[in-house]
């Protein structure tokens, strides 16, 4: 190596050693701690959230897949070509089949209507069957279903048929031995309501022909289950669509359960939003701390330049510092992220019932890349400005710092933010909407905060001296304060948005399925049976609910005109458990219609009588729970007959207004009613809901069957045998397993949301602290000078308190306005919730801003009154 090269290498090593020395000393002096913390927060948030969501999402998908017993399902009322199944197998997918039907089963002494399910030997592909050797015990997981010649029965079937495990029963023409008691089957609620209208009997698919119960015209539900990797499933799904000419498609849990799909979609949106907020807030904290760090290093650089350091050498020194700092932050962030995600998983261990797949390395890569993108976008511009520091600063401190272009840090920061949003969301539209919204909010906030700070002059002059001092300081630092108010506002706004959204989401979910949600539907109840059933529940201490009279009516006309709406053009409508169950129950086994099931199985029956809808209707004087009248008035017992209340979306679709005359047809009679009210309905509450409710007396003469719900705990389910023995014609639909599964999933996503909120809160706190620190030097200098001029400790502290509190108050007001605006958009258009104003936030927002900023500010600046002014001035 030549002398010149050796000298160059030594010089470079000297620079790197100097970087490490500066890094260590600045760390010890506290200058880098906030920057380091911000980086760690960014890596921790992203790694933790990515690890958590990665594993939880997989767990949720597994849990959700359990609801299907597969990853994808093809279902219908008729068999599909055998080639479709063999093709799936040839593509490497696992397959299984089930056939569901209702059938009477017989023992030597009794008989019972059961919901039978024949399963192939590979069933289930996901989740597990739990079976026991005697009824009413917990059971253990078992491999595969019943073998040929054997049936498994739900516990309550055994006493109903007066048999034990090992006895034989007759299913159609087949005599089958009771092999086990079925405790849990993963896809219990799939296959349509009527398939669950009775206790379960599970048999082997090979026994179905022996039973001879399936005859042409029988109501049968065929389900084909598939499991495998995502890509293969997609390829097969596309092949299937092509083969069926678009008539059949694979469905996942999101198609099968609107309630689960809704919870998962909202949780994913929230997690995405939360991690975006966390990273962007950490980015702001990095930008603020890096800016302050670089400002405090102008003099360093000037000295180094007088000693002969070139701009490139300056860049090497400071980039080395950042890279080393980032590398340490990444490792710490990985570790912290790993611990956080583990802590949360431990907390959730009781509700995460599936084995979590191991974490992939991807979250760590995402965390590391985030740190470097944050550094590049937020920290590098101010640090690169250091290379342009004039060495003349050693002679004149007041010399202006040459910048690389005043807008460059903003442009680079915004570009980095956009890239991060795009990277996380993978959604160009969402990114555009977010960027434009933030730009609009920033512009609005800048103008408002500038105006508010400018107006402080007239207020300040009328107050006492501490107040005057604070206000004059606020005015002097107007530009800095506008930026500070902006950062405070956006931070507080982000925290408010996330907190309110989280609260509203969780409230919404809890309201959807509260603890005491009834979990059994009673259908096909005649008027004469109502009292008996009520007495039965009273005697057994089971709380009962209202019995709704119900029958199907056809909507003939609205104000004499036939109804026209997209509802009747075959488009999908909102899921309605009442309609689905009732229509199937009515059709029952006599239903000859055999065809592919659609997502809106219970939608309008249009049949041969034209495209006029049939609806399940009821009458009552009591407004059902979760219904809210939004137009007109609900009636009371004295309201005359002939009134109807219409569900709001349906009314909007059909153009129905208060006072309109609607003609219905039922039981070959027509009747006309006037619209008295329009109401919103919570369709996802798993309770009886109706599009049309009539006032009492309107339809009473037409006769109806009744529908009700009841909450029965697991240990009370045996009573269903007695109930069905006493009232053999009624149908009990059991949705307890479905409700429990949905509640489990909701509990998991709620916990995930809580965690993200805490992480974002921590990032927000860091931004606030960084932002307060960003203007500390000037405040220190001014107040040190004031102290040397004789200003007292109390005066300075009070004026600082007022200054920070004013900034916090203004930021709080702006944040509240921004939060409500953002929430309106998010709730109405992203989370599909009803937006309502949060009045308490209008008081809490400004108050929180005022108190938090004042406390942070005073805590950071109190040194100015505790240390001698000379020391303060020397340190600056």
């Amino acid at each position: 190596m030549s002398d010149a090269a050796l000298t160059h290498k030594r010089s470079f090593l000297s620079l790197f050693r100097l970087s490490l020395t500066l890094l260590w000393r600045d760390w010890a002096g506290g200058e880098l701690k906030l920057l380091f913390l911000a980086l760690v927060m960014a890596v921790t948030s992203v790694t933790g959230i990515a690890l958590f969501t990665d594993r939880l999402e997989q767990a949720l998908l597994l849990e959700s897949a359990n609801m299907l017993a597969a990853d994808r399902v093809l279902s219908g009322r008729q068999e599909v070509p055998r080639q479709w199944i063999t093709e799936a197998a040839s593509q490497g997918l696992q397959t299984a089949e089930t056939i569901s039907f209702t059938s009477m089963v017989f023992s030597d002494t009794a008989n019972l209507l059961v919901s039978a399910k024949a399963v192939s030997s590979s069933y289930p592909l996901r989740g597990e069957l739990i079976a026991a050797d005697e009824p009413f015990i917990r059971g253990i997981p078992v491999e595969g279903g019943p073998v040929p010649g054997e049936v498994w029965l739900e516990s309550r079937v055994l006493p109903a048929l007066d048999i034990d495990v090992g006895d034989s029963i007759y299913v159609g023409e087949a005599e089958l031995r009771v092999g086990k008691v079925l405790v849990v089957e993963p896809d219990r609620q799939q296959g349509g309501m009527v398939d669950n209208a009775g206790p379960r009997l599970m048999l082997n698919l090979a026994d179905v022909p022996v039973t001879n119960v399936i005859q042409p015209g029988s109501r049968v539900s065929y389900r084909y289950l598939f499991a495998g990797d995502e890509d293969t499933l997609d390829v097969y799904g596309a092949w299937l669509q092509e083969q069926s000419e678009g008539q059949s498609r694979l469905r996942d849990v999101r198609d099968e359960s609107e309630e689960v799909s809704d919870a998962l979609n909202k949780a994913e949106s929230f997690l995405l939003l939360g991690s975006l907020f966390a990273v962007l807030l950490a980015g702001v904290a990095i930008a603020l701390t890096a800016k302050r760090y670089s400002e405090r290093h102008y003099d360093y650089v000037a000295i180094l330049k007088t000693l002969g350091c070139t701009s490139n050498q300056i860049s090497v020194i400071y980039i080395s510092i950042q890279i080393v700092l980032a590398a340490i932050a990444i490792v710490v962030g990985w570790f912290a992220g790993w611990i956080i995600h583990h802590l949360i998983l431990q907390i959730l261990s009781s509700i995460i019932v599936v084995d979590l797949p191991p974490a992939s390395f991807q979250p760590f890569i995402i965390g590391s890349l985030t740190a470097f993108i944050c550094l590049l976008s937020f920290a590098l511009p101010p640090l690169l400005a250091l290379r342009h520091t004039s060495p003349l600063r050693v002679l004149r401190k007041d010399i202006d710092q040459t910048k690389i272009g005043a807008h460059v840090p903003y442009i680079v920061g915004i570009t980095g933010s956009v890239f991060l949003i795009l990277w996380y969301s993978q959604d160009l539209v969402l990114t555009s909407v977010l960027v434009l919204s933030v730009a609009a909010i920033t512009l609005f906030l800048s103008v408002v905060s500038y105006l508010l700070l400018r107006s402080s002059s007239s207020v300040g002059m009328k107050a006492g001296s501490a107040w005057k001092l604070a206000m004059s300081a606020t005015r002097r630092r107007r530009k800095q304060n506008v930026l500070q108010v902006l950062v405070f506002s956006i931070t507080i706004m982000s925290l408010l948005v996330l907190t309110l959204l989280r609260t509203d989401l969780i409230d919404d979910w809890q309201a959807q399925l509260p603890e005491n949600t009834p979990n059994h539907f009673l259908m096909n109840v005649t008027q004469s049976q109502v009292e008996g059933i009520q007495n039965f529940f009273d005697e057994n201490g089971i709380e009962q609910n209202i019995f709704y009279p119900m029958f199907a009516a056809r909507l003939n006309s609205i104000n004499g005109e036939p109804p026209r709406s997209r509802f009747f053009d075959g488009e999908e409508e909102r899921g309605n458990i009442t309609e689905r169950g009732a229509q199937q129950a009515e059709q029952g086994d006599a239903d000859d219609a055999v065809g592919q099931e659609s997502a809106s199985e219970g939608s309008d029956s249009t049949g041969s009588r034209g495209r006029r809808p049939t609806r399940q209707i009821t009458w009552t004087d009591i407004l059902p729970p979760d219904n809210q009248v939004i137009a007109g008035q609900w009636w009371d017992a004295n309201t005359p007959a002939g009134m109807v209340s219409v569900e709001a979306d349906y009314a909007r679709q059909l153009g129905i207004n208060i006072g309109d005359e609607i003609e219905f047809e039922a039981n070959q009679q027509t009747f006309t009613v006037a619209v008295q009210s329009i109401r919103t309905v919570r369709w996802d509450n798993m309770q009886p809901n109706f599009y049309f409710i009539f006032s009492s007396g309107t339809l009473d003469h037409l006769g109806a069957t009744y529908l009700s719900t009841v909450l029965m705990e697991q240990e009370q389910k045996i009573l269903l045998n007695d109930l069905l023995r006493l009232f053999p014609t009624i149908i009990v639909i059991e949705i307890d397993a479905l409700i429990e599964q949905i509640q489990n999933i909701i509990a998991q996503v709620t916990s995930a949301i809580e965690l993200i909120s805490i992480l974002v809160l921590a990032c927000g706190a860091l931004v606030l602290l960084s932002c307060v620190n960003a203007t500390l030097d000037e405040r220190f200098r001014e107040n040190a000078i004031l102290r040397t001029l004789g200003a007292g400790r109390k005066l300075i502290l009070t004026s600082l308190l007022i200054e920070f509190a004013s900034i916090g108050f203004i930021a709080g007001i702006i944040a509240t306005v921004g939060a409500e605006g953002s929430l309106y958009y998010l709730q109405e258009f992203v989370f599909e919730q009803d937006f309502h104003m949060h009045y308490w936030v209008w008081i809490a927002g400004p108050l929180i801003g005022m108190v938090v900023i004042a406390m942070l500010g005073i805590n950071s600046t109190r040194r100015v009154v505790n240390v001698s002014p000379l020391n303060v001035l020397r340190q600056l």
């Binding site: 620079l15 180094l304 000693l307 701009s311 050693v394 002679l395």
Partner: protein
């Protein structure tokens, strides 16, 4: 060693261009000790900054050891400073994160010299700070800090030493001791010294005194001649 040619510096103000230095012509020989004196605002520090290549003139040129500074860009001027120039400032300008030893080692290390530690420790011993190597600047008195700064200035084996009011932040006695040390080392290392001061007595320690008034050289004489008169 240093030559200025029609050196002029103007700065824009709200009231138009303000001339800080006007057509300054100087020629300073190697090994010479020159004091630049004048009232506050006379342009002394500006002249020092221009001669050291810390700033660029509005017109005119500075030739440093045969190198025209106007012809060099900022980076080349920085390299030249590293090779030729040492500084002692009124406010010491030590890096607060580095110890006394590290501050002195810095310019030697930047040159890629592997013997930085030895040279720096020798210099610190030479300025009487052998027991203060590992102290940070804020743990040293003003006089001690200035001695570290002097050690650092000589550490790079500079041929030209610029000193800007080196006693400005020191009491009289300490200032006198620091100046004695500065001149001692200057003689020992045969450095060209440019000393900016408003202290006439300090200026008289130099061989030549240049007086600035309102940015113009009003007097440039040997101290010997002045004393003789």
């Amino acid at each position: 060693m240093i030559r200025t040619e029609k050196l002029t510096k103007t700065v824009p103000t709200s009231e138009g261009l303000l001339t800080i230095l006007k057509n300054v012509d100087l020629d300073i020989a190697e090994g010479e000790a020159v004091a630049i004196v004048g009232e506050s605002g006379s342009g002394k520090s500006t002249l020092l900054g221009l001669m050291a290549g810390l700033d660029s003139p509005s017109s005119g040129d500075v030739v440093l050891d045969g190198n025209s500074l106007v012809a060099l860009d900022k980076e080349e001027r920085a390299i030249l400073r590293g090779q030729l120039v040492g500084f002692v400032f009124q406010s010491f300008q030590l890096l607060p994160s580095l110890t006394a030893l590290e501050n002195v080692m810095l310019p030697i290390e930047l040159k890629g010299d592997p013997d930085a530690r030895n040279k720096a420790s020798n210099l610190l011993s030479r300025v009487g700070l052998e027991k203060r190597w590992h102290h940070y600047p804020n743990q040293l008195s003003g006089g001690e800090q200035q001695r570290v700064a002097i050690a650092r200035a000589f550490a790079s084996e500079a041929r030209i030493l610029f000193a800007d009011e080196p006693t400005g932040n020191l009491d009289t006695a300490t200032g006198a001791r620091v100046i004695d040390l500065l001149f001692e080392l200057n003689k020992e290392y045969a450095t060209t010294l440019i000393l900016v001061t408003h202290d006439e007595r300090l200026a008289e320690k130099c061989g030549r005194k240049i007086k600035l008034v309102a940015g113009e050289v009003v007097s440039d004489r040997k101290v010997e001649e002045i004393t003789h008169e």
